[in-house]
Symmetry: C2
Subunit: 143 residues, 2 copies
DNA sequence: GCGAAGAAATAGCCTATGCTATATTTTTCG
DNA sequence: CGAAAAATATAGCATAGGCTATTTCTTCGC
């Protein structure tokens, strides 16, 4: 039997947090990818964004509209997509977190390929507190 | 520059997998919770399920309808909810995975409370391969 | 400079997951 | 036993995120 079963309210809070995280996860993925595309190719086109996200082009267009609504990106019709300052900041944070999660997984014995695959979903749920613990663990592991 | 940047197709596959995972995550959460409720209280009522999930009662009813559609649970109007064999099996698997994820997080230095909070979202993205790595790591850590 | 090709936007549809408000059924108790 | 209370179901709505089909705009090449 679990000796520390949480109260229903606590548990509800946990699920509520997981739901909130999930709501921003997509934004994070798009923002990071747009940052990648700009870094690699000089610009982020809707078609490339859609291809990398593995979605149809109108789906990407709709997501970009949401990014604009949330102040993370800008774009003009038939032109490329750009990140706002807030968007670029988010992209950098997400990229760093992704790297740390992959490294942590590898450090505890997950094969590199699997680590990449699982990190894509896991990273969004890694809180700042947990991220710091991961960094400390990795620093210690590196002596 | 990232020396191992994945092909757009590979990356799209990763996102596709993350999306699939997310689609079953809710089912897993409900099934696990229904299992908990039956174990603790002898039965799982819609109102209790809703309270623990932190959602309105009709939302829980709708989710239960989906569980029934997917062959994971059964129920009759105005009566409790029960798990099918498949549902019970899923509940056990999810519960074990949850425990392992929490333990792993704690083992790498995450505070217990934070571990519980983050595990709620992380667990769904932990593949079998990664779960086995976690178990091996924990076994080694315990000597 | 103009027509074809390509890229992006728009229209319209679907499912999942939330919600509130309201009906219905069951349970409880005076 | 019958009415009030509690539990559950249903109706109806919203948003997010998918899709295909179609329109509109830009770009390219002759």
């Amino acid at each position: 039997m679990p000796q520390d079963s949480p109260s229903p309210a606590d548990q509800a809070d946990r699920f509520a947090r997981a739901r909130e995280v999930q709501a921003v996860a997509l934004l994070e993925d798009y923002v990071e990818m747009i940052g990648d595309l700009i870094a690699e190719m000089g610009e982020a086109r809707v078609a490339d964004i859609a291809a990398r996200m593995g979605v149809a082009q109108p789906t990407a267009t709709k997501a970009i509209a949401r990014l604009k609504r949330e102040g993370l990106a800008t774009s003009r019709p038939y032109r490329g997509v750009f990140l706002t300052e807030a968007g670029a900041e988010m992209a950098e944070r997400v990229r760093a977190r992704h790297r740390t999660v992959v490294e942590l997984l590898i450090a505890v014995g997950v094969p590199a390929e699997t680590a990449e695959l699982d990190a894509e979903g896991i990273e969004h749920h890694v809180s700042d507190r947990t991220l710091r613990a991961f960094e400390a663990f990795l620093a210690a592991a590196r002596h």
